[in-house]
């Protein structure tokens, strides 16, 4: 016993059956019961949950009001151009006419039809919101999910990227872009907004992913050999479905506001029309001083109503997705 023995991994294993025995329990398999389908994927469950959310969504007044307003504007954007076909910026009417039966929203100083500009502008506003907000949501979710799921060095790099984009002065960037891109459409503007407005979403999603990642069901999926992307989209993302949806709505509204601001200070698209550019033109041609209220009120109200409807919907959805806030 005086001779000490060095041990690192040296515990002999007791009597053991070395060969691999089948471990499957040998209980006789009972016949499958009729009417009881195999324990299958979560598709049916997801559908059930979606239906439940739809049920509550359609009973929530905030969601209904927001949705109603949005539908009215979408309808205007779709139907309007059919009523007033042709170039919305064409000089078609009398100059500086107040609203009348013929010119519903009046005309500009140059005889352009304000109604035609308005419905066209609503369309491009939705376009900017959808593409700009959609792109920002896509980048924000990808960065947030990957950073939160991978952690470590990947997280640090993505975090750095997020912070860099966060502190870039968007306006200065756009001024430079405007100098080089002489012809800019609405889509270019949307892409620009999408590329610069995602950081807060990425941060929020990263934090949520981080906390869900420590839950054991994520480990269990990994232990089953499920690939990373499916762990993220099949296990983690469904747990923050409402959050993702709200992120998109907020990015959507945010993109519209940013676009309106850019348009208003003259950095908007060089071609096409938008609500922000209508306001820019109205102010540039002194509509305010001339008392031509019909030139700037419709676009101003339009932007306010669309963004307001999105935010009201967001509050309502909060109540729907979070069962504890539901009014039963």
């Amino acid at each position: 016993m005086n001779d000490p023995e060095r041990i690192s991994s040296a515990v002999p294993v007791g009597a053991a059956a070395p060969d691999r025995a089948p471990i499957q329990p040998a209980a006789p398999a009972p016949a499958p019961r009729p009417g009881e389908p195999a324990a299958a994927s979560g598709r049916a469950e997801a559908v059930g949950r979606r239906r439940e959310i739809l049920y509550f969504a359609l009973r929530d007044r905030k969601v209904l009001v927001g949705l109603g307003i949005l539908i009215v504007f979408v309808a205007a954007a779709v139907v309007g151009p059919l009523i007033r076909p042709g170039d919305p910026d064409a000089f078609v009417g009398p100059m500086a006419a107040a609203p009348s039966r013929e010119w519903w929203f009046g005309t500009t100083t140059f005889g352009q039809d304000v109604f035609a500009q308005f419905v066209y502008g609503v369309g491009s506003t939705f376009l900017v919101g959808l593409f700009g907000g959609g792109l920002a949501a896509l980048i924000g979710m990808t960065v947030g999910f990957v950073a939160g799921y991978r952690g470590g060095v990947v997280d640090e790099i993505l975090n750095m990227l997020t912070n860099v984009v966060l502190v870039i002065p968007t306006l200065a960037l756009l001024l430079i872009a405007a100098a080089y891109l002489t012809a800019r459409g609405v889509l270019v503007e949307a892409v620009f907004i999408g590329l610069t407005s995602w950081p807060w979403a990425a941060r929020a999603i990263r934090a949520q992913t981080f906390s869900l990642n420590t839950r054991e069901f994520v480990d269990l999926a990994r232990l089953t050999g499920v690939p990373s992307w499916r762990v993220i989209f099949g296990e983690i993302a469904p747990n923050m479905g409402s959050y993702l949806f709200m992120t998109f709505i907020l990015l959507f509204g945010g993109a519209i506001l940013i676009a309106a601001t850019l348009d208003f200070i003259g950095l908007g698209p060089t071609s096409g029309s938008s609500l922000g550019m209508m306001m820019y033109n109205a102010v540039a041609w002194s509509a305010l001083q001339l008392g031509m209220w019909w030139w700037f009120i419709p676009p101003g109200l339009g932007i306010t109503a669309i963004v307001g409807a999105l935010y009201v919907m967001n509050v309502g959805l909060d109540e729907i997705f979070n069962p504890r806030l539901r009014k039963m």
Binding site: I7, S9, P32, E45, D219, G225
Partner: protein
């Protein structure tokens, strides 16, 4: 053979990962087929960390875990899938092991997608039912329910059933008994015994000494990430050498004794023996390190019975 060779884990905690938290320090043991090894330790001693490292859910900081000679850190893709076909685990907390968005049988559905995608519905169902039967679960009562509609014990057994779908050779069972009531507990213990008979190696993680004693062939006692004593269960329990294990075993609640009586006895010399550190008597501090420059953390006291230093860090003199 599943081998842990001086495995350590240091968690980075605090802002910017500035602080180190050593959770497991130089743990080595082996587990063969058909063998039940119980890993015993108080809360926070690193048991779950060891289990998760074996399941490759967290990386090892230093050291090596290997199966039949292959370092599991090198596995990836198909190799990892093959590893998970052989080694599976059941986690400590059944409620957090299920995704609340899905029905409980989602954990079985994932298994099917990964490993049995070619199986016909009827065959799959038969397999599931056989597995459920083995853990005493009624398929009609457990399938198609949300996790919150099932009890902790049912969920725990469903997790065991999930692991049994594969022809595994090793099972890491992290406190799987603590959620169960007395009668189910016996059922699951007997199931584990039955599985061992068929050649399954089980790492039975527990803080319950009597359970460890009941089921295991070998015992590893962990304290603050260090192995303080390990060996054949009969030897560790019959003749505990380390003061900590002695205290643990003496302090285990016994049906016929009150704690006050045990405490009095411990205070009266039943506790740490005065003769100092057995490890350093067996392995004097001035003795040169081994061939690879590493100092052992355990000394052999008798056949299949090893003891660590009285001081937890195991560095320098302790007596």
């Amino acid at each position: 053979m599943l081998t842990l060779d001086r495995v350590s884990k240091v968690y980075k905690v605090g802002t910017f990962g500035g602080k180190d938290l050593p959770a497991v320090r130089g743990v080595s043991f082996e587990m063969g087929p058909g063998e039940v090894v119980s890993l015993i330790g108080e809360s926070g001693s690193g048991k779950t960390t060891v289990g998760k490292m074996i399941l490759r859910l967290i990386s090892v900081t230093t050291g090596r875990i290997s199966i039949d000679g292959t370092d599991i850190a090198t596995l990836g893709g198909d190799g990892l899938r093959a590893y998970y076909r052989t080694v599976q685990g059941v986690f400590q907390d059944p409620f957090s092991s299920f995704n609340p968005m899905y029905k409980a049988d989602h954990v079985l559905g994932m298994m099917r997608r990964q490993y049995f995608s070619g199986l016909a519905d009827a065959d799959w169902l038969a397999k599931v039912e056989a597995s459920l039967q083995a853990v005493n679960l009624d398929p009609g009562q457990t399938l198609h329910k949300y996790p919150h509609q099932l009890s902790g014990g049912q969920l725990q057994r469903l997790l065991v059933a999930r692991a049994l779908l594969l022809d595994i050779r090793y099972l890491v069972a992290d406190e799987i008994i603590s959620m169960l009531d007395a009668s189910t507990r016996i059922d699951v213990l007997n199931l584990l015994g039955e599985l061992r008979e068929r050649g399954l190696g089980i790492l039975f993680i527990t803080h319950d000494l009597s359970l460890g004693n009941y089921i295991s062939d070998r015992t590893v006692i962990l304290r603050r990430g260090n192995v303080v004593e390990m060996g054949a269960t009969a030897k560790v329990f019959g003749n505990p050498l380390h003061p900590y294990s002695r205290m643990l075993i003496a302090a285990a609640p016994q049906l016929h004794r009150k704690w006050a009586a045990v405490a009095a006895e411990l205070g009266a010399g039943g506790g740490p023996r005065p003769e100092g550190c057995l490890f350093h008597r067996l392995y004097p501090p001035d003795r040169p390190a081994g061939a690879d420059g590493e100092r052992p953390t355990l000394a052999r006291a008798e056949d299949d019975h090893f003891v660590g230093c009285v001081r937890l860090d195991g560095e320098g003199a302790c007596s």
